[in-house]
């Protein structure tokens, strides 16, 4: 994605460049190319270039501008000149103050130059990012990102640099600075002394003091906090810059956590309780996770924190078995699942076999993705890992186990229990669903019948077949009972009858009056 954006930018600049040449014939175009190449250290004669252009336009019938573009790029490629670098200079990077750059939020990407002081460097969250952090000048601060594809030397904290040919991007109505191959950074002649700090400036010290909060209190991103928690689960390592990742919890709940390598924390064990100091919450896809970066500390504590069980249970139909189920191979170095005999990180390795099921259970309201581990898979399929390996070898088909899984699971109803992470349910137990409960059916049926009756009655009233009050009396059990009682009193005596009715009415009115008073009192308060 990021590389594509870079290319798109370069392309857009290129087309500006070609349009601006104003070349009316091939010789002019050839001269333009010659000049450009010469500026970048490649000396080619105008005639040679013109010949190429002719070939493109006359034999291949390519429009002149397109021919110019493709010939230029072909020469650049031939002489190993970076396309981005050549064209970036042709763009219109304007020198601006950071406050002005921030004001560009919501606008299309643009190129700028500015001078700024690095006030914060963050931990890289992705291998394609070399550095990220905040730079500031006397007008404001802004986030910057340097892609790994650049050859920019790492920036140093508190130093002032001239940033040239950087891209202003807008994301979520906030502007930020991106440095791609076209960018250059050089130490500035004059140091910026005072930086106008916004609220987003965060202390980077291990000694700052935070409030001790519970998991339940950490419901949004960007909170610096201390936290006492138990490590519920440690994930397989996900990235080389992550030391530990998993799920932690206290008595109020559980959440994901990430400990970055830069924290220099070397030991965290599942099941133990720790005090996390200077942790920061991050929001990711609507989920809150807590991170420990270079500013954070993790200390083991004697106190035993019991994580609130986040057991998730569902009853649903198995609707899919995802790729990566059945007999799989894992890299012996990093335990990652290999694809086609390759580990994405360690290349061709002799993998170790594992058995698992990635099943989707659909309960009609949500499709739940689950992972069933080797132990449970062996039990469910009644196939040992070694047997599975043998079956795959014999049939020459590693997918054969997958077919068995699909046949066994798809279309059947299961009760699944497990720990819910942000995407998967790590299954602890899975059982075939119990046969349908007769009560459940009869209750629903009764409910539907009643709804139909009510509707019928409503229609009858509309059609004038019965009177409204007839139904009310019928539905009102108390009055029915009263009438029964009255009949028991053998009230052929009409007066008696009326008295009772009146008394009931009076009681009703009394209640209403009381209620009114109460309401008024509340208003007064």
């Amino acid at each position: 994605m990021k590389d594509m954006n870079e290319t798109e930018l370069a392309d857009s600049q290129e087309s500006i460049h070609f349009k601006n040449t104003g070349a009316s014939d091939l010789f002019d175009r050839a001269a333009t190319i010659q000049k450009l190449l010469s500026e970048n250290g490649a000396e080619i004669s105008v005639e040679e270039i013109e010949a190429k252009l002719k070939e493109m336009t006359e034999i291949f019938k390519v429009p002149a501008a397109e021919a110019q573009r493709s010939v230029t790029n072909a020469f650049l490629k031939k002489y190993g000149i970076s396309k981005t670098k050549v064209f970036a200079g042709k763009g219109s990077a304007v020198t601006k103050k950071i406050a002005e750059i921030n004001a560009m939020a919501g606008m299309p990407d643009a190129w700028v130059n500015f001078t700024g002081k690095v006030i914060q460097i963050w931990d890289s969250t992705h291998e394609s990012i070399a550095q990220a952090g905040l730079v500031g000048d006397e007008t404001g601060i802004i986030k910057f990102t340097i892609w790994s594809s650049t050859e920019i030397n790492p920036l140093e904290l508190n130093k002032t640099y001239d940033f040239k040919n950087v891209v202003v991007k807008s994301w979520n109505d906030k502007a930020s600075i991106t440095l791609n191959k076209a960018a250059t950074i050089a130490p500035a002649a004059e140091e910026i002394v005072t930086v106008k700090a916004g609220e987003t400036i965060l202390s980077d010290s291990k000694d700052r003091t935070n409030e001790l909060r519970t998991v339940a209190e950490l419901q949004q991103g960007g909170i610096w906090t201390d936290l006492k928690a138990n490590i519920v689960q440690l994930f397989e390592k996900t990235h080389e810059s992550i030391a530990f990742a998993g799920v932690l919890g206290d008595e109020t709940g559980t959440m994901r956590f990430t400990v970055w390598k830069t924290s220099e924390i070397e030991n965290i064990e599942a099941g133990k309780s720790y005090l996390l100091k200077n942790a920061i919450t991050k929001e990711w896809n609507g989920n809150i996770a807590v991170e420990i970066n270079r500013a954070g500390k993790v200390e083991e504590i004697d106190e035993e924190i019991v994580a609130k069980a986040s057991v998730f249970e569902l009853c649903g139909c198995a609707v899919d078995i995802q790729a990566g189920s059945g007999l799989i191979r894992r890299c012996p170095e990093c335990n990652k699942v290999m694809t086609k005999g390759m580990c994405t990180e360690h290349g061709k390795v002799k993998g170790k076999y594992d058995l698992r099921i990635k099943a989707v259970f659909d309960d009609g309201s949500e499709a739940h993705e689950t992972i069933i581990n080797c132990e449970l898979t062996q039990k469910l399929l009644n196939i040992e890992l070694a047997d599975a390996v043998m079956m795959a070898t014999e049939t020459l088909d590693p997918e054969c186990i997958n077919d068995i899984i699909k046949k066994e699971f798809i279309g059947k109803y299961y009760v699944v229990r497990g720990a819910k992470t942000d995407r998967y349910i790590i299954v602890e137990n899975v059982e075939r669903a119990e046969p349908i409960d007769a009560n459940r059916i009869s209750q629903l049926k009764d409910c539907l019948m009643e709804e139909l009756d009510r509707k019928n009655d409503a229609e009858k009233i509309e059609n004038g077949e019965i009177r409204n009050d007839e139904i009310r009396v019928g539905e009102n059990r108390d009055i029915e009972k009263d009438i029964e009682e009255m009949e028991e009193l053998k009230s052929s005596d009409f007066e008696e009858f009326e008295k009772i009715l009146n008394s009931i009415e009076a009681e009703d009115e009394g209640i209403e009056e009381d209620e009114e008073i109460e309401i008024e009192e509340i208003k007064v308060i």
Binding site: C317, D320, D362, A367, G411, K412, L448
Partner: protein, 188 residues
């Protein structure tokens, strides 16, 4: 996980599917998912059905192309499987009737010359089931359909609005349909 989202398998009875003819795509593109909006306001791309396979016919000329009929207590679903649903086609080629089957698949629409829309199912999976799973499906589908009816009568959202406008559904008819389905499974 960005951008990932799996369509749930909507539960609906054959009668409701038969009554449905409001087909739409959320985007204009050719490959954008196609949805059917049913009279009770269900918006379905993928559906889950469980019933009895009653008939399988190879209607392909040259290549194998199967049409199967699957019955639930309220009506019949039609399933088509050809070379792009190889596993389902193989299943149908070898299937015996009658048999309990469960199908997970996508709703597809076909417009006849006289302007009628006929819905069928293109299976992702078709598998043998047992009576227990069929009963569970009927109960679940009954509940889900009932929930949709209640929602359509009491709430409003885009789907409900469009469904009411297009079908002017008689909900007592669908209530009777649910009762009929429930009676079919409670009688044994």
């Amino acid at each position: 996980m960005p951008g990932y989202f799996r369509e749930i398998a909507v539960r609906m009875f054959a009668k409701e599917m038969k009554d449905s003819d409001l087909i739409y795509r959320e985007e204009e593109e050719q490959y954008a998912p196609q949805y059917v909006l049913t009279p009770t306001g269900a918006k379905a791309n993928r559906i889950l059905i469980s019933g009895v396979l009653t008939e399988v016919e190879n209607i392909g000329s040259g290549t194998e192309y199967y049409r199967a009929r699957i019955s639930d207590p309220t009506g019949t679903f039609t399933v088509y499987a050809g070379q792009y649903q190889a596993e389902a086609a193989r299943f149908l080629a070898e299937a015996e009737t009658p048999a309990f089957v469960t199908v997970i698949g996508k709703v597809t629409a076909f417009k006849t010359d006289d302007g009628n829309t006929i819905l069928s199912i293109r299976p992702e999976y078709i598998q043998n089931a047992d009576e227990k799973d069929r009963d569970l499906w009927v109960a679940e589908t009954a509940e889900k359909t009932h929930e949709r009816i209640i929602a359509a009568e009491t709430e409003t959202n885009e789907n409900i609005k469009n469904a009411l406008e297009h079908y002017s559904p008689e909900f007592s008819e669908y209530r009777k349909m649910i009762i009929q389905a429930l009676e079919a499974i409670s009688s044994n």
